[in-house]
Structures are given as C-alpha cells and as structure tokens.
C-alpha cells in the first residue's frame, strides 16, 4: 500500500448485501442463458439499424477485391472464439484459417497481436509445434525472448527453456532474427534446426535436424570450451559439462546430475559454475522430485556468482524448491530476497504463486 492513507478511507462506498445478491442474480441469469429481455432486444434492433445505415453508406468495393479476412480465431468444435491480444493458448488449438498450434504440457504461448495481416505470439516457455497454412494473408511472428521467428507457410517446432531456444523446421522456410543469432538473422529451410543457448552471444549452432552431429553444450558459452581450438583436448571440467549435457538431452536426468555434481565440485565460482548449479537444481526439482537437493544447488549457484539475468531465475527457483520441501520460512525469506533484488521482475508471478505476499 502507499505510504500515505488512501482517500478510500475517507469515503463511505459500502456495498450492501442486497447489492451483492442483486448482481449475483443477474450473473446467474446471464450464465444460465436466460431468454432475451426487452433491453437486449432493443439493443439488437438498434445495432441492426446502425449496421444497415453503415452498409448503405459504405462505397461498393471494386469487383474482385479480396474481402478482409479479419483476425484469427480459435476453433472449438464448430464455434469460433476470437483470439484477442493477451489471450493465452494453453492447449493445442486449431485456427480459423486452417493453421494449427500444437502445445506440449507446460508450454506457455500468448497472443500479442492478431489482425487481418499480422499474427504475433509470444512463447514464454515450453515446446510448441506450428503448422501455418501456406499462402495466407498474415505475417506470422513468434517472439521467443532471445530470438524472433518469422514465417509464411511452414511447419516448425520451437522449444524454449531458461537456458535454450531450439528452432526446428520440417517444411518451408523461417527466418530467425535476434542478437544471439550469427549475423543477427538466419534463414532455416526444411530439415534445418538452430539452437541458441543461455546468455550466449556466440553459442548458437545450425545443423540438420536429422544429423547425428553432436549438439552444442549449454555451457559452452560461459566456460573454456568456446575458446578452445578443435585440436586441443577439452579440460576435464568442460568434458564433465559436455557429458552432463548429453545425458540431459538424452533424458537421463540421474546421470546428468552425477556429471554436474562432479563438474561443480571442481569449480565453485564463476558464471559457468553458477549455470551448472542452476541446471543441477532444475534437474533435481523437475526430473528427480528432490526439492531439498534442488534448494542446495540453487544456493550454490547464488554463491558462485551468477550473471544478473540468471540470478533472477535462480532466486525464483529457490522459492519454489523451498516451498516444495515444506520450508515455508525459507520460501518466505527467498521470496523477500527475490522481491528486494528484482522488484516487479519477470518471475514475480511465479514467486507470488509459490509464496504469496501479504
């Protein structure tokens, strides 16, 4: 609350029980799909009259000119639900132009702009598959934080996590733009993929989606691996990170944590150690269901000195881990520290969810 007393305290705008009951009765009537009443009928008639006037005054379009298609809508059976700016897609959705967005559990996609010529979405997290109807009138754009994906008629997948963004194209062409992308733009055709790893100006790689070539390490941007020549053998810690990365990508979380534990035991400070501990914590928290171990890993990450962008994620995850292990005091402390360090931060909603403020 504000430091001074809000004016509300001088006002008497109390709500009576009768008012609350009246509004509830009206809400229930509308929710129950009651028959149209006189004001509604009148409103419809007035609207129809206005439409008639507008139509009569609108100049006739030249023959052959395409009709404006209007914004995209989500299809729910035979019903079309408008997708306004700010709408969230939480399930796989068929769109009114024949396109489709497939959402995997946990993915978060919101609509930023939806008009007859532009459809802009924001993938905050998770995996989404896009099948865009070719030849459509709209410019499709997917904002993914460190990159922007532009497309007209194609099939592609996006996977975004705290550390990585991966674009994989199955049909057609997409343009990937961003500060982290080599030359700030990359054209991907069918069969190609692009990975951008955490806070990594140079840590991106383009490869064939079906290629057996090894994928880049998520830690290559913050450690010694980046600067090594191909002839030099990797240092032991880098090799451990690489092994951890491989195990993680293969879905073997337990093995990945073992490699990471060994790696972070060899270096206690630095951005790479901080990222290693953070990844370790996430694996404990999300894959192995061990919030206690996760909390310890996040605390180690903070001691290692993470860059500010990573620190915010670490502190938010620490709140989650402590809440999940039942340490409500610890979660409260971690949440206070997060709010003090990042007032109005991008993870504030997550922190609030795990430790609601007063």
């Amino acid at each position: 609350m504000t430091p001074h007393r809000p004016l509300r305290e001088h006002l008497d705008a109390r709500t009576t029980e009768q008012e609350i009951l009246d509004v509830w009765r009206r809400v229930r009537e509308k929710r129950g799909g009651r028959r149209l009443r006189y004001p509604a009928v009148l409103a419809v008639l007035v609207a129809a009259l206005l439409v008639a006037v507008v139509v009569a005054r609108t100049p006739v379009e030249p023959v052959g000119k395409a009709e404006a298609p209007g914004p995209l809508a989500a299809l729910h059976g035979s019903e079309e639900v408008p997708l306004s700016g700010g709408a969230e897609l939480v399930h796989s959705t068929d769109l009114s132009d024949g396109s489709r967005v497939g959402m995997r559990p946990g993915a978060r996609l919101s609509v930023l702009e939806n008009s007859d010529h532009t459809f802009v979405t924001h993938l905050a997290n998770g995996h989404a598959d896009f099948t865009v109807k070719p030849g459509g009138p709209r410019r499709w754009v997917v904002e993914c934080g460190r990159a922007t994906i532009e497309v007209v008629g194609t099939e592609f997948s996006l996977e975004r996590s705290a550390n990585e963004l991966r674009v994989e194209v199955r049909h057609g062409v997409v343009l990937v733009r961003g500060e982290d992308v080599p030359d700030h733009v990359r054209r991907l055709v069918a069969g190609e993929s692009l990975s951008l790893t955490a806070a990594a100006p140079a840590a991106s790689s383009v490869g064939a989606a079906s290629s057996a070539a090894p994928e880049p390490s998520a830690f290559s941007d913050v450690g010694a691996v980046k600067s090594q020549s191909p002839k030099d053998p990797p240092d032991p810690t880098s090799a451990l990170y690489a092994e951890a990365d491989r195990a993680r990508r293969a879905g073997n979380a337990k093995e990945a944590t073992e490699f990471l534990e060994r790696a972070v035991a060899t270096e206690a400070v630095g951005h790479r150690a901080a990222l290693g501990c953070f990844t370790l914590g996430r694996l404990y928290l999300e894959e192995l269901g061990a919030p206690g171990a996760a909390a310890r890993a996040f605390e180690r990450s903070l001691r290692a000195g993470p860059p500010r962008g990573l620190e915010e994620d670490v502190r938010a995850r620490l709140v989650e881990a402590r809440a999940k292990m039942g340490d409500s005091d610890g979660a409260r402390r971690a949440a206070s520290e997060y709010r003090a360090r990042f007032p109005g931060g991008r993870r504030a909603a997550d922190v609030e969810r795990w430790n609601p403020g007063e």
Partner: protein, 211 residues
C-alpha cells in the same frame, strides 16, 4: 505450506447450493483461489459462487468509487464476473484470479467511461453520478469534505486514461506495480499517467494531493 493444498488430507463437505461435494483441505475451511478456480473449471457451481462472494464487495466497491454510480458499478461487476467465469479456462495461473478479475473490472470501468462520453455526445447521459464529496464518510472532517469536493471537480476534467491510474493509486491505495497490472500497461506508462494526472490535480487544486 501455501500452494500445496492438494497434498494435504481432504474431507468431503456439502453445502446448500451444491452440484457436487466439494473437497476442502482439512484444517482450512477457506479454500484457496486456485482450488476454487479448479473446481469452477470442473463445473462446480458452488465454487463459482464462492469466488463471486469472495470478491464481489471488492469489485463493486472499487467500481463505485471509480465511477461514482452504484448502478454503473453493479453493471461493471456483473460484466466482470460474467467475463471471468466465461474465460476462466484461459487463466494460466489460478492463484492470480484476484488480480486478473480486477484487471477485467478496471477494463470495464474504462468502457463505462467511454460509453458515458458517447451518451453525452447524444445528450442521453442522464447519469446520477455521486461526487467524491457525496461519498465522504459520516465522520470525515469538514476540511476533508471540502478537499474531496474540490478534488472531485478537478478529476472530472481529467480524461479516464489518466484519471483511473491516479484513482487506483491515491483513492484505492494500490502500489504502482499493482496499478500497472490493473491498467494492463507497463510500470513506466502507469507512472507517466499518474504523474500527468497528478500535475493537473496539483495545478488546479493548488496544492499536493489531500491525504
């Protein structure tokens, strides 16, 4: 342990207006918003009513103070709860129901201001608007009543885009970040709008905002 109610032991509770038994966590007769939202999404009418009951006073009261009209406030509350219940499935984080609902309400207040302006153009505005002074509590000192009267006159000259953030901040007492969330704008925009309104208030009022 807030946020982990699902893991707590539960007990079946039956209430009067109930479609199906609601499972409430033991030791907590007050289910969280997230639990109520989940139940409402499953079609439980009691959970919907519980959500309404929990926030009706907040929504109606806020709308009344912002709009100065009990009738308009009731309409705004009705529309806001209708929208909220219809779009409940799009709410990503059920624990943020309160903020989300208030965002909807503030948006509806905005629409109501626009509607008034249009009606005014056509000379159809027969609104019986209560001024801030008219809403002053019975025990408000005379000087506060005078301040509220002057303030109400100044506010009526400020466009709703600036007036609403200012009122959310100074009348309702929200934090700046809350104002930004409720107005669905960035923190910088909220600050700028409040600042603009504040300068107009200060210019016309001749002093700082009354406290």
């Amino acid at each position: 342990m807030r946020g982990f109610a699902a893991k707590r032991p539960t007990v079946d509770v039956t209430t009067a207006d109930l479609d199906a038994p609601v499972r409430l966590p033991l030791g907590s007769v007050r289910p969280t918003d997230a639990e109520l939202v989940q139940r409402a999404l499953e079609g439980n009418a009691w959970a919907e009513e519980a959500l309404y009951r929990r926030y009706a006073e907040l929504v109606i009261g806020t709308a009344k103070r912002l709009l100065g009209s009990a009738d308009d406030a009731a309409d705004v509350a009705q529309d806001s709860f209708l929208t909220a219940f219809e779009k409940l499935g799009t709410l990503r984080d059920a624990s943020t129901f309160k903020t989300w609902l208030m965002q909807i309400a503030v948006r509806n207040v905005h629409r109501r201001f626009r509607r008034r302006r249009i009606l005014r153009w056509f000379g159809l505005d027969d609104l019986d608007e209560t001024t801030l002074e008219g809403m002053a509590s019975a025990d408000a000192p005379l000087e506060v009543r005078a301040d509220l009267g002057a303030l109400g006159r100044v506010l009526s000259t400020i466009p709703p885009t600036l007036r609403l953030p200012w009122m959310l901040r100074h009348v309702e007492g929200h934090e700046l970040t809350e104002v930004a969330a409720l107005c669905d704008c960035s923190l910088a925009t909220a600050k700028r709008r409040i600042g603009l309104a504040e300068s107009r208030v200060a210019r016309k009022f001749g002093s700082a905002v009354p406290e």
